[in-house]
Amino acid sequence: MTAIVAHAAPIRWWHSRAVYRFMRHHLALVGIAMITLLVLACAIGPYALAYDSLQIDLRARFAPPLSGNHYFGTDPLGRDLAARLLMAGRVSLLVGFSAMLLSTLIGTLVGVTAGYRGGWVGAALMRTVDGFLSYPSIFLVLALAATLRPSPVMITVIIAVTSWMETARIVEAEVRSLREREFVQAARMVGLSRRHIMFREILPNAIGPIIVAASLAVARAILLEAYISFLGYGIQPPMPSWGNLLNGAQQYLASAPWLAIIPGAAITIAVTSFNFIGDGLRDALDVRDDHI
């Protein structure tokens, strides 16, 4: 029998239609640009500025933006707001990212297990998810944050523990439909273990929805951290975070509005950018007939 040659050239991921669709989503590209800028500014910015974020200068209290080298002005203790904003960004973005990673990990584990096992294991896991969802998550977060000693790590864990459920539900539904596909039957036929089938055969096929959920989870984690810190249960001063910068600005809203507006803008930019990226990824990846 003559050999049949596959004539299609290998397709690289950046040629795929998903990437093409994402590139057409202009808002998502803006989101990527903004986040890149924000991350770079927070990473490098503090070294480039003239002032340290903790350096107190009582003579320069309440300096408005663009006075001297204080680009964003100063706070009630004369600390440079630009330096504090970027240091706060490091904390907020780090908490947001880590919380997303942790919640995606928990959600994926629970979702894949529940979706593939089904039966009473799946039912028990999904009812747990429903149980978690039935608490108002802000309430849960505040209750936990009030009783546990707040530190960035603890805040991250608290946020992750209260936000993994959505990922779990998305992954469970996806895995349940993938489980019936013939390639999974074939994997069982060649005698692969259950764990191997769940995480090596099925999971890579469910990666699209997980990435979408994760990008939206970052936005939500940043917002949640801002809530908690604004209410005083989160990151504790003097360590700055976008949330507690807002908290500190409360009483000076009339006299020094920039103290609230600038961190508020940072939160808004970060959250909307992540949401744009999430929307773009959803449009790019969530197409049923395009399982490449």
Partner: protein, 554 residues
């Protein structure tokens, strides 16, 4: 090509396609979906367009109906309907033609019917959008149509929703809708492909009857030469967007002039009625003995709502010796696929025993059975769904053996060897499944099943999703593999013609039970049970089929 078209008076021609070309958007594998095709559909005739997948036959139909998607355009040529060129006609004018002058029925009657409307409402809608009749007359006309297409109890049927009907009944409803406005031309795009063979025979009969009664012209698109032999007056053979041959049905079927038509006709499987020559009969050992195997599906929750109980496999008993092939044939819902899944323990059975090499595997747990898995392997139906889209072919082939403790390097060597054995080049090893065609993927599926040197191979509709020419190649490959390795095979299929090609023995399943078992000669030439007789009689084009055979091997 042109010699096939005789000069005809325009009055005889219902539809005339002249040098029609339809271009594809850039980046596709060819520039034209159809290229420069011409044919005439005569009044009161059935014209069959036949070709394999990707030959452009459906595009031709959609071009005539003006239903092409936006990115695919008619680049040149003309379609004359009643002396009027309908290419480039405004959407409004086309819409008024559709249904009234030309109507169409589709392959999948479930997705072509609106699930939220009753059958009656859908038939009336066709008339209402063309402003035909009054609500009352439309209603009586709808009932008449339901009677005309042979649906039982039309008054009741009128109020049914599509999901309550069987596939054949849905297709009858589609035909009723297409006939609502008494069109002069009916285009049928693979209307029987999704149906069981007995249902297919009824629908073909119905289309033929209606066509004769009304003097309609029918353009019938199919990939099945059996269907062509049964109903066609005139045949157009298409390959890769070109019309390679056309002529009267008799002429094309009996003495095809083009190489491709000849190859296509030769590839069509026929009932042989001859038994296979058994291979090395001496050292035959029993490999599988199945006794009173049963499986019942239970759906719905025990707590809420009613439970549905469907017996899928009901007391099946058979045995199989080494190096032999048992065909399991039956219509959809007969339990043949469930049987396959039970044997390979992708599903647990309720009762009965499966003695594999003398050991009962029916009651084994997944962990206990794991060491036996390599000995029983399966080839799956859908070559697109059965390979993990995120894994390379190499990974797909080696992951099983590696999980069973075989060295990766050894597994790789065997995989490359098998790939070339099943007719793929060794470069396939590092590629992903989507880079291959359906037939090539099925070869990969076969290689995967052979990685372990199994004792028993279960092929579940392994060639059903493939074109006939590819089908013939895969059947030949399976036969060759069996002769080389002496593997036993269970070949599950709905197509009796395919089963007759490859099986030593055939078991006919009906409603979860084996109603008849015997060598092909008995099943096809002298069936004992009424159901088998019905199945054999329903095979399309078999009277003509024997004729074809003589033509193919003079």
């Amino acid at each position: 090509m042109g010699s096939g078209i005789q000069a005809v008076t325009p009055a005889d021609v219902a539809l005339s396609v002249r040098e029609l070309s339809v271009s594809l958007p850039g980046g596709m594998e060819r520039a034209h979906a159809v290229e420069n095709i011409s044919f005439d559909l005569m009044r009161g005739q059935i014209l069959c367009i036949i070709g394999e997948s990707g030959s452009g036959k459906s595009v031709t139909a959609n071009a005539i109906m003006g239903l092409l998607p936006k990115v695919i355009r008619v680049s040149s040529g003309a379609v004359h309907l009643d002396g009027m060129n309908i290419v480039g006609l405004s959407p409004d004018k086309l819409r008024s033609l559709r249904g009234r002058v030309v109507s169409m029925i589709f392959q999948d009657p479930l997705s072509a019917l609106n699930p939220l409307m009753t059958v009656g409402a859908q038939i009336e809608e066709v008339m209402a959008v063309h402003d035909v009749g009054t609500p009352k007359s439309r209603r009586s006309r709808a009932i008449d149509l339901l009677i005309e297409v042979g649906l039982p109890d039309p008054q009741l049927m009128y109020h049914q929703y599509p999901f309550r009907l069987s596939g054949g009944q849905r297709q009858r409803v589609m035909i009723a809708m297409a006939l609502a406005l008494e069109p002069a031309i009916l285009i049928a795009d693979e209307p029987t492909t999704a149906l069981d063979v007995t249902t297919q025979a009824q629908i073909l009969q119905l289309i033929r009857d209606i066509q004769r009664r009304k003097g309609m012209s029918v353009m019938f698109i199919t990939h099945d030469f059996g269907v062509v032999a049964q109903i066609a007056d005139y045949v157009v053979v298409m390959e890769k967007g070109r019309c390679v041959e056309q002529g009267g049905a008799e002429q094309v079927l009996k003495s095809p002039s083009h190489l491709y038509s000849r190859r296509l006709i030769a590839a069509v499987p026929h009932l042989t009625g001859k038994d296979r020559v058994p291979l090395h009969a001496a050292d035959r050992v029993p490999i599988l003995k199945v006794e009173r195997l049963a499986k019942t599906y239970r759906s719905g929750s025990a707590l809420f709502g009613k439970r549905r109980i469907v017996p899928a496999v009901n007391g099946v008993t058979f045995d199989l010796t080494s190096g032999r092939t048992l065909g399991v044939v039956g219509e959809s819902g007969s339990g043949k696929s469930s049987l396959g899944r039970l044997l390979i323990k992708l599903m647990a059975c309720d009762s009965g025993s499966i003695l594999f090499e003398g050991r009962d595997i029916a009651g084994l747990s997944e962990a206990e059975f794991r060491s036996l898995r390599p000995k029983i392997q399966m080839i799956f139906q859908d070559p697109f769904a059965s390979l993990n889209p995120r894994s390379t072919v190499g990974h797909i082939l080696t992951v099983g053996p590696v999980a069973h403790g075989i060295l990766y390097s050894e597994a790789c060597e065997r995989a490359r060897e098998l790939l070339s054995h099943v007719g793929l080049d060794s470069g396939a090893f590092d590629r992903y499944p989507h880079e291959f065609s359906g037939g090539q993927r099925q070869r990969i599926g076969i290689a995967r099943a052979l990685m372990f040197r199994p004792k028993l191979l279960i092929a579940d509709e392994a060639v059903s999703a493939l074109d006939v020419s590819i089908q013939a190649q895969i059947l030949k490959l399976l036969d060759q593999i069996q002769r080389e390795t002496g593997v036993s095979m269970i070949f599950i299929t709905h197509d009796l013609r395919v089963a007759s090609q490859i099986c030593d023995e055939i078991a006919v399943m009906h409603r979860g039970q084996i109603v008849e078992r015997g060598p092909p000669s008995q099943i096809f030439l002298d069936p004992k049970s009424a159901y088998t007789r019905e199945l054999v009689a329903a095979i399309p084009g078999e009277q003509a089929g024997s004729m074809l055979e003589h033509a193919a091997n003079p």
